[in-house]
Amino acid sequence: LAKTTQPISMDSYEGQEVNITCSHNNIATNDYITWYQQFPSQGPRFIIQGYKTKVTNEVASLFIPADRKSSTLSLPRVSLSDTAVYYCLVGDMGSYNTDKLIFGTGTRLQVFP
């Protein structure tokens, strides 16, 4: 299972773009990269998932370089409500006998007015 490393915390201001990078040097061929968001007193919520290149949805973009050893979650024009903990997970989504999603400590994003 690929181990992930991400910054413990980040600060930003409203309206700015925030990029959170996750390192996963040991990513395997079948592994997908998934990001979750967690607000206080709530369970994590899925944000975005990708395998390679770039994925974009209504909430965020996910950039994955060709070697897939890292990924960057991009949040455009953050607001105060984006203050949360963001987790990067890497795992083989198709193998339910071996995958074990490890959340790690995540990145605590604080958005200031």
Partner: protein, 122 residues
């Protein structure tokens, strides 16, 4: 559509007492997860069910923790006896195996989490 339901939301017990948590997953989801989350840490997987079968319980402390998902739908996680170190938030999540399932998710193994049960052991 209702999300993952957990009860109770909060529980305070004295050490050595038993406690049980209940989870009802999203309808149609065949995979159910129980996680433990300590303050300031990410969720840690305790057990994963595929239908009624526990396919991964390697992180479940089996001397005091037990879980069941008898009909492949809702699930119960029990601790007996509880210890001070068990104070944490217990999260339940569910997903549909594969992509494009009945839940409408197009992402592999997208997990939907409940609000959790905050356990305090005194």
């Amino acid at each position: 559509e209702a999300g993952v339901v957990q009860s109770p939301r909060y529980k305070i017990i004295e050490k050595k007492q038993p406690v049980a948590f209940w989870c009802n997953p999203i309808s149609g989801h065949n995979t159910l997860y129980w996680y433990l989350q300590n303050l300031g840490q990410g969720p840690e997987l305790l057990i994963r069910y595929e239908n009624e079968e526990a396919v991964d319980d390697s992180q479940l402390p089996k001397d005091r923790f037990s879980a069941e998902r008898l009909k492949g739908v809702d699930s119960t996680l029990k601790i007996q006896p509880a210890e001070l170190g068990d104070s944490a938030v217990y999260l339940c999540a569910s997903s549909f195996t594969g992509s494009g399932g009945t839940s409408g998710s197009l992402n592999y193994n997208e997990q939907f989490f409940g609000p959790g049960t905050r356990l305090t052991v005194l």
